[in-house]
Subunit: 333 residues, 4 copies
C-alpha cells in the first residue's frame, strides 16, 4: 500500500435485502494503524473488523459432521485437527470483509488514474442479465446498485429464483462478469505472470469460485479463428479491436480494450436438505441436517469481493510497471 490515499471516509459495501442472511453483522471497523491526518501513511494499514454476531449454538452440531461442499474435511486433513472449526473458521465467507476493506482504499486510487471497474451478475441459475453495453456507464450503474444486475426484469427473476430455492431448502449459483476500463495497453507479463494468471490466482481465493475465464472464454473453444481474432483498427488515433473476444488481453498483456472476465460461483453449499457425510471425529458415515440461517445465494455479495480483489491485483501490477510513486502523482525524474 502506498501512501497518501484518503482513508478517513472508508465505507465498506455490504448487501442487504430479502435473500441475504438475517444474521446481522455490524461491519464496524477499527483502523489500528497506517492512517494519519486522514491519509494512508505507507505503514501497513491494519483494519480490524470485529466479528460481533457469533451464534455459537448455531454451529453446535455442525463441526462434528463435515458439511459437504465446504472445507470442513480438507481443513482437518491440512491442519491435523488444530483448525478452528466454529463457523467454518477462516474458510468462512466473512473473511472476505477484509478484502472489501482493502478494496475500499485501492478502488478510488485506481479511479484517480482513470481506471474503473464493476461486476454484474451475468446469470443466476440460468437467468441471464443483458450484456455490458456502454461499459463505463454500466459500471457506474452497477456501483450504485445493491443488486448488481443491469436488466431490472432479470433482477426480479433472479431474486425470485433465489427465494424459491430458499423455500425448497436449496441454493443457487451463477456467473459474475467483471469489466475494467481505462487500463493502459502494455500491462502484464508474457510468461508466468500473465494478467490472466495473476487475476485468476487471486480470484480463486474467493470462496465458491470454481471457474475463471477471460473474454469469450470457453466459447472460444467452439468457434473458428476467423470469428474470434479481434481485428485491430486505428479509430481516430486510438488503437482498438473491433471485437473483444480476448477480453482486452493478448499474450498476457493488456491491449487497451476493456479487460473482461467471468467467474463461476457455485451454489452456496449450506443447504437445509439432509446430506450424506462423515463424522469428523470418528470418520464414520453420518448424515447432516444443517441448522441456522443461511443464504440461498452468495453471488450478489461475492461481486463486491471480486471488484476488490481485482482492484488489489491491478494496483499491484500497475505499481510494478509505473512505480509505487505513480499513484501518488509523483514522477521519478
Amino acid at each position: 500500500m502506498d501512501e497518501g490515499f484518503s482513508a478517513s471516509q472508508l465505507t465498506l459495501r455490504r448487501p442487504a435485502g430479502k435473500i441475504s442472511t438475517a444474521r446481522v453483522e455490524a461491519d464496524e471497523f477499527i483502523i489500528a494503524s497506517g492512517v494519519f491526518n486522514g491519509k494512508t501513511t505507507g505503514t501497513p494499514l491494519c483494519i480490524l473488523i470485529p466479528n460481533t454476531a457469533q451464534h455459537s449454538t448455531d454451529y453446535e452440531n455442525a463441526p462434528r459432521i463435515a458439511r459437504p461442499g465446504h472445507a470442513d474435511y480438507t481443513a482437518q486433513c491440512k491442519y491435523h485437527g488444530y483448525e478452528d472449526f466454529r463457523g467454518g473458521g477462516h474458510f468462512s465467507g466473512r473473511i472476505t470483509a477484509a478484502l472489501v476493506a482493502a478494496g475500499a482504499v485501492v478502488i478510488p486510487a485506481l479511479r484517480a488514474k482513470g481506471i474503473k471497474l464493476g461486476t454484474h451478475i451475468a446469470s443466476l441459475h440460468r437467468i441471464e442479465d443483458r450484456a455490458f453495453g456502454d461499459i463505463a456507464a454500466d459500471i457506474d450503474t452497477l456501483n450504485s446498485s445493491a443488486f448488481a444486475v443491469l436488466d431490472s426484469e432479470a433482477a426480479e427473476q433472479m431474486k425470485k429464483a433465489a427465494e424459491e430455492a430458499a423455500e425448497a431448502g436449496d441454493s443457487v449459483g451463477g456467473v459474475l462478469e467483471t469489466a475494467v476500463t481505462g487500463l493502459p495497453a502494455g500491462v502484464g507479463e508474457p510468461w508466468f505472470d500473465t494478467l490472466e494468471g495473476v487475476l485468476s490466482h487471486a480470484l480463486y481465493s474467493i470462496p465458491a469460485i470454481k471457474g475463471v475465464q477471460f473474454g469469450a472464454g470457453f466459447d472460444l473453444a467452439d468457434g473458428f479463428g476467423s470469428e474470434f481474432n479481434d481485428p485491430l483498427r486505428n479509430e481516430d488515433g486510438r488503437i482498438i479491436t473491433l471485437t473483444n473476444n480476448n477480453g482486452g488481453i493478448n499474450g498476457g498483456i493488456t491491449n487497451g480494450m476493456p479487460v473482461m472476465f467471468r467467474c463461476a460461483v457455485k451454489p452456496t453449499p449450506s443447504i437445509y436438505s439432509e446430506q450424506k457425510s462423515i463424522d469428523l471425529k470418528t470418520l464414520e458415515n453420518a448424515d447432516l441436517q444443517i441448522k441456522g440461517r443461511h443464504d440461498p445465494s452468495i453471488i450478489h455479495r461475492a461481486r463486491v469481493v471480486v471488484d476488490s480483489m481485482t482492484a488489489l491485483v491491478l494496483y499491484d501490477v500497475l505499481s510494478g510497471r509505473y512505480g509505487t510513486d505513480w499513484f501518488c502523482g509523483r514522477s521519478a525524474d
Copy 2:
C-alpha cells in the same frame, strides 16, 4: 529442482501427424548444467533447445502488420519497440518446449510418489470425447497416445474437423481436461494460494488458454447446491466423495479425490484469411494476409504443456508441505 532425479534419459514429447505444422524442429537439446552421473545435482538444471528451423523469410512481412489474436501489438506497447518480433519472439508457442523439458524431469518424480496425471482433448470444435472413466487407466492410455482422445471415433472426427478448417484457411479450438490421481488430502492453502489459484496462475502462461475451471466449473453456476455438494462417505476406511463436482478441491485444499480441471484453448490465431489490422510502424490501418505454414489447431500439442505445467506446480506445492527432501526419499528426523 531437488537433486537425485534421473535426467539422463530425458525424452521430450512432441506430437506429429497431418494436422501439425510441416515445419521441422529437431527438438534436440543440450543439458548445460545440473546433471552429474545421470542424476540431477540440485544445481539449476539448464536445458538448451536450439531453434534450428527459423525461416526468417516467412516472417518478412508479418512483423510490420500486427497479427490479430497474437501479441504483436501488446508486445510493442509493453516493450516500446525493442521486442524481437520475428516469429512472435518469446510469445511463440515454441517457448513451451522448455516447460515440457522441465516436466519431463518432474513427472517421473511425482509418479514415484504415486501421483499420476494426464490430459485429454475433451472437445475440439464441439466434437466431444467421452468422459474419464477409470481415471488411472485412462491416464496411462493418454500418455501413450500421440493424439490424446479416449474415444477413437471422436478422435477421427476431431482430426477431420481440424483438416477441414485448414482447407478453409481457418483454425479451431477446444477444451482440454486434466486429471491428477494420488494426491494426498490436505494440500493447498485456504487463502491467496488455493490450489485452484496456483494452478490457474501457471496454466494461463500457456499461449491460447483463455479459461480454466475446476470440477464442474461453469456448470456449477446453473444448478442447485443439492446437486453439486459432493456427499462424503467412508468407503472401507478411505474417505471419498460420491461425486466430484468440486474437482477434488474444497476451500483451496485437496480432499483426496482426483483433481480435475478444464482449460479452454482458443483457435490458433494464425489463419490464412485476410484480416483487418494495423501497421505497427505507422499505426495506420492495414490488411493482413498471413503466409507460411501454420497449424489449424494447437490443442493436441498444448496438452503436453498442460501436463508439464501442472506437474511443476504440484511438485512445488508438495515440496512446501513435505519438504524438498521428501522427493529424495529422505525423512527429516
Copy 3:
C-alpha cells in the same frame, strides 16, 4: 505459521532496570486471531499490542526538526510527507514488540526440535563480555538473564558506562553475538539464499543494526587461510570442525557446528546534546535539542529482537527443507 503450537501462555520478554526508559509500556497484548483451544490453528496469528503510553507532547517539537541518525528525513523523502512522524512512526523501536511476539511462538517450536539460541552483549562501548564457552549452557544462562552478559563483572561495567553516557547526555552502542545450536547440517542455499544472506536480510530490519558478520567475520580479513579453514574431524561418529571461524556455515549451508554471528548496534541516536539539523517543513538549517526520556543504550533490549528474528528465519528455512508438517511432528508418507 504452522498449526498446533501452544500459544496460550505466550509471554513477551521485555527488559527493565535503570538504564531503560522510564516510559511505561504495558506490553499487554490481544490475540485477535489464529488460536483455538490454546493452540495455533494455521490461520494467520494476529497479536495486537496496543500503544498505551503515547506522550504526544514529548514529540511536539521534534517532528519539525529532523533527528540526526533517525529516519525522520528519509521517511519524508520516501513518503512525501504523508508519514506519521509522531514518535518516529513505524520506524520506532517499539514496533519490534511484534517481532518478539512472533518469536515467542516460534522459539519453543525450534526448541522442541532440539534447536536452541541465545544472544549476549559481546561488547558495550568497548567493554567486552567473555566469549561463549559451553554454548548450550551459556544460552540457558542468557535466556534467564535480564541483562544478557555472561561475565557479571563486565555486566556491571557496561551498565556503568551506559549510565555515565546518560549523565553526559550521550548514548553508547555495542556488539551482540548470537549462537544457535542443534541445527542439522545441510540447511541453506548455495546461491542467493545463503543462510548468511537470509539471516542478515532479516537482521537489518532491526533498528540500529549497521553490521552483521558470521564466525570470525571481519577478523577473517586479516589472517591467513591456514589459520581460519576450520579443519574437519570425525569425533566419535559425529563430524565436527576443530575451530568455528566460519560460524557453522560453509557455502551458505550449515555444517552442523553452532551457527555464530555478530551484529553491530549503533549508539541510540536520541541524545540530549544540541545537534545540527534541518527543519523538515522549510528544509532550512535548524538546531535540535531533543527532549523527553530516552535510553542511553538499546542493546540490552535489541538482543531479544535478534533472537526472535533469528528464530523466525530459521523456522522458515527449516520448513522449506523438511516441510511445514515437520514442526507438527507429522511425517509425509
Copy 4:
C-alpha cells in the same frame, strides 16, 4: 531485466596479473536469448559462458577428501551425495562470471540515470588503502584499474603480501569497500526490505564474504551517539549530512549521501599446506594436500562481483519505486 539496453558490446571484466591463477579461462560468451538489433528485448537474457579449462586431473584426489573452508562437506549434507563435486561444482567462484555478465548490462543502465558505483580493496592482510576522497573521481579511477587500490604504494605492498603468502603455500583475505553515488533519497523499505537487508542478502551469495557492514559499521559499536549521528545541513539547497557514518542509509532508506559499505573477504580456503579433514566417502579422518593451481587471494577478483551484485540489487529496488519503464526513459502518464 527491462528492455532497450545496449548489450551488443558487452565486455566482461576479468583481472589478470601475477597473483591471479595461471589457469586460462577464455571468458568467451554466447548470448543465447534476449538481444535483438543490439538491444535487450525484455525477454530473459541468457548469456552462456562455457567452462573451457576444466583440468579434471587437478581435482582427481580432492573430491574424496573434504577441503576445509570449502563447501565440500556441506554440499554432501545438503545434496545427499548427488552434487557434482568436481572443482567445487556450483560452489566454485567461477559461477560468479554469470553475475559479472548480468552486471555488465545493468551498470550502464544505472550510469545513464546518474548512478555510479565502484569498489576498492580497503585492506588486504592488514595493509590499508587510503579512504575514498572525491568519491565520484575515485570510482572512475577504480573502474579503469586492474587492481582496485587507490594508493599505488599500498597496492604494491598488497601484491607483495599476496605473493609471499603464495610462496608460503598460504592465502590472504581482506576488506572490500564499495561506494555508490547518485542514488535518490527515499529508496528502500523501513521493515524487512531495508536497503542494508537486500544488499547484504545478495552480497552473501558471493563466495568468501563473511561480513557486511554499512557506513562506520562495527566501529559504530564503540563510540558515542554524539560522534556518529551525521548532522544534517542544507548546503545550497541540497540536503546533506556533515559526516556519513550511517553509510547513506537511515531507517533502511537512502538519505541522498553516497551509500557506503564494506565486505569482509576471507582468505582463499585452497592452500597448499597439509590440512586435517575427513574422507567424504567413509567419513573417516584423512589429511588433505591440495594440488593444482590456486590464487593466494581472490579479493581483487571479488570486487568486480561485488559491483555487479550491488548494481543488480539497486536496479531492482529502483524499478520497484519508479517502475520498470523508468530505465527506458518512459514516463507513465
